[in-house]
Amino acid sequence: MSVPTTQRPTGTETATGRLGDITLLPDGIPKVTGDFAYSSDLWMDDMLWGVTLRSPHPRARVRSIDIGAALATAGVTAVLTHEDVPGSKYYGLEIADQPVLAVDEVRYTGEPVAIVAADHPETARRAAAKIVVDYEVLDPITDSRAAMSPDSPLVHATPTQDHYPGGGNILRHVRIRRGDPTLTADVVVTGEYDVGMQDQAFLGPESGLAVPAEDGGVDLFIATQWLHVDQRQVAESLGLPEDKVRLSLAGVGGAFGAREDVSMQIHACLLALRTNKPIKMVYSREESFYGHVHRHPATMRYEHGANRDGTLVYVKCEVVLDGGAYASSSPAVVSNAASFAVGPYNCDNVLIDGYILYTNNPPCGAMRGFGAVQVCFGHESQMDKLAAALGIDPVELRIHNAMAEGSLMPTGQVVEGAAPVAELLRRVKDAPLPAAAPTDSYDLRALPGGVSNTTHGEGVRRGVGYAVGFKNVGYSEGFDDFSTARVRLEVVGGELVATVHTAAAEVGQGLITVMAQIARTELGVEQVINQPADTSIGTAGSTSASRQTYCTGGAVQAACEAVRDGILAMASARGLSVEGAALRDGKIVAADGAAVASVADLLGEEIVEETREFHHRPTEPLTRDLGAPGDIGQGAAHLQFAFAAHRVVADVDVELGLVRLVEVTTAQDVGKALNPLSVVGQIQGGTTQGIGLALMEEIQVKDGKIRNPSFTDYLIPTILDTPPMQVQVLELGDPHAPYGLRGVGEPPTISSTPAVVSALRAATGRPLTRVPVRPEHITGT
């Protein structure tokens, strides 16, 4: 069955589009021919291969490391341990608590202990296996709720507590109180919900090439989400000034949060500087599961109180996130989980406690949705449960309580601009439903279990479920979040050419396409060259938090405006009247539409180049005084909110616990679709990652060890698991944002998970309080 999306290319698509046009990706062509150079494709004549020796234990003291046999292996050039780290032996995105190479203790299974350089990857692997590490194995701390106890042993002997108030293994406790949560209500529903550990599962493995430079520095070609935050951490650990550590973006095979933290960056540079040879490092898929942070598993307790008419009176929530061994971006993730714990609903009385813990489990950090995903499963499950208790239609209950422009967040922040929660819900509800399954015939491929031939329709029930969610766009809580862009306009070979240079990471989302669209639109030029991203220009901030088109788009726009002003000033100096003029189709066009001059003629040999920073509006830290009376955890912490709603139709074999999704419908407000092709692609892809969390994706950790570090055992949706998708794009415009845009990437991942589970509940009548849902949860056996 084929369900068209609303933004399918119509034949007007172009590789030279302006803002709002369906615009093809300029990097699409090298990607289909195999010519696109990903970070794992790089190669130099005299390069060596680097590999990592990792801890087999989740918690152990390191008594000694003997590298003798490894170093004596033919073909091996270097074997390094923590003693060879010349600068900071610890690194981290927010808190430098993670050893570059284990110092005296390992805190998770897979923690890097030593690194090896050799002339063949297999030689390096075999040499690494000869390194003898004497471990004193300790009992791991693996239960996040038990780790909260003051009596629990500590993962870190001196945990970071000054930066964020906590205690023991609590890395951060976010406490939000507003109104009077001691009120009573006509109807009260409580629930406990769990979310498993999800992996970003990008396809392009962690990899890169570090090349030693003559000035004693190093050039690193790397797949990352934020070049400058890598540069800072690499330079600190190498003990080099940042200008001696130059990063260039290599092709990025997906990111989804997993490339926010450093993986092999410091290791490759250490080996390159030690051997004075280029070092290539490429993780295998198994190593990749140890080599990056994951989505935090969560346990949540909720209590919702409502009046008989469905109006929420109060919401109480406790969410506990397992941060694993090191901090990564956990402090920000728990802040988000607390901020969005109630969902996009009005409620004046809230009591929220978000905890994030150190344990000896794999470190967790950023993944698409960033804390909002876990709590969305909690609050949407609660809304379904409340609707059932009240006997109200679950969509109507949501609409009755829906946040709108001017609503207050639990943090007291006023929601500015469009907050179309009710409209998004109505749209997915009103979309036509797929046809019922035929009763007189069957196609195995359309049934749960597929061609495994597990049913011919008997025991199959159809369910329909809904969910809505939201999250912040951009970095929050007072962070000075900004990007830098340089734009040059010149005549090359008789043609007007704009060159755009930023350090922003294109990770497949289509950023460089949008940057070129902005330049074409602002400068009236056809030819735009995207200069490769590197650290020779100021930071662009991270390709995270659905912020890159907002921030780097804003910087490119600002730089283009400065270039345009420069052109108009040149024209004015030559006596032309340019009052209110714009640049269009290679010409200066007056306010009345008349062409004043050709920009190419005006420029001649001259070049106009401008660099601008775009800082988004300031945000506020949440109030943190745990002892203060009254409302706390308050503040306008977030820049912008982005909303999406889903409807899922599922066929469920209630006897075998198998699921086949029939269709997913998504409605999302994107403010302004700068490239409709990429916007729809983001929504479809994000929705699918949420489907994965609902039905199959979980890193299984037992006793601190990952049991399924492979694509054989960690399942992500295939084309057979992914249903046809309807996408409805709203463009309601945010007056504060560049071009009115709203971040797109994350919202579709947030509400698709609870919508799937809601559909399964409708089909089975079971509570289904944990994701991913397993067959035995569906059958109740």
């Binding site: 290319p9 699409g28 190669w43 297999e122 061609v451 497949g508 492979s710």
Partner: protein, 160 residues
């Protein structure tokens, strides 16, 4: 060992090949053809799909010595017959937005080529069945279906 085989119609030789190497490693690291991708290296993701004597295989599951004397065709060899630089499948993937990060793309294009060679006008169910061994993490597959449908329609126009 010395490996002699045909890659994209050209005879090739690789020396000092460690017999434990995969065909994928030889293509990527010894032949300078990194278009065939290395996402899982255990036959689950399809990103290293190539033709081996005309049969679609995962290059990561073929030991280098198994390629001795045989013919391999990779994504780099797909468009050699066409004037515009892209074959109709590659063109369809670009036009429909089926490419995001692109890491799965070469494998999907090879699998699509194999599908359309055997089933020129596939139904959606047939497309899903044929591409079930190719993982994509970015797109949600919807635009990949669009690409295959478009490529099939053009192929039908060209060779009725």
């Amino acid at each position: 060992m010395r490996l002699t085989f045909d890659v994209n119609g050209v005879g090739q030789q690789a020396d000092d090949v460690w017999p434990g190497e995969s065909l994928l490693y030889v293509l990527r690291e010894r032949m300078g053809l990194p278009g065939t991708k290395n996402a899982c290296e255990q036959g689950e993701c399809g990103s290293c799909s190539v033709y081996l004597d005309g049969t679609l295989v995962c290059a990561c599951l073929v030991a280098a010595p198994q390629a001795q004397g045989r013919a391999v065709r990779t994504v780099e060899g797909l468009a050699t017959d066409s004037a515009g630089g892209l074959d109709h499948i590659q063109q369809a993937f670009v036009e429909t937005g089926a490419v995001q990060c692109g890491f799965c793309t070469p494998g999907l294009i090879m699998a699509t080529d194999d599908l359309l060679a055997n089933t020129p006008t596939p139904s959606d169910a047939e497309i899903r069945e044929a591409l079930a061994g190719n993982l994509c993490r970015c797109t949600g597959y919807e635009k990949i279906l669009d690409a295959v449908r478009l490529a099939a329609s053009r192929r039908t126009e060209v060779t009725p």
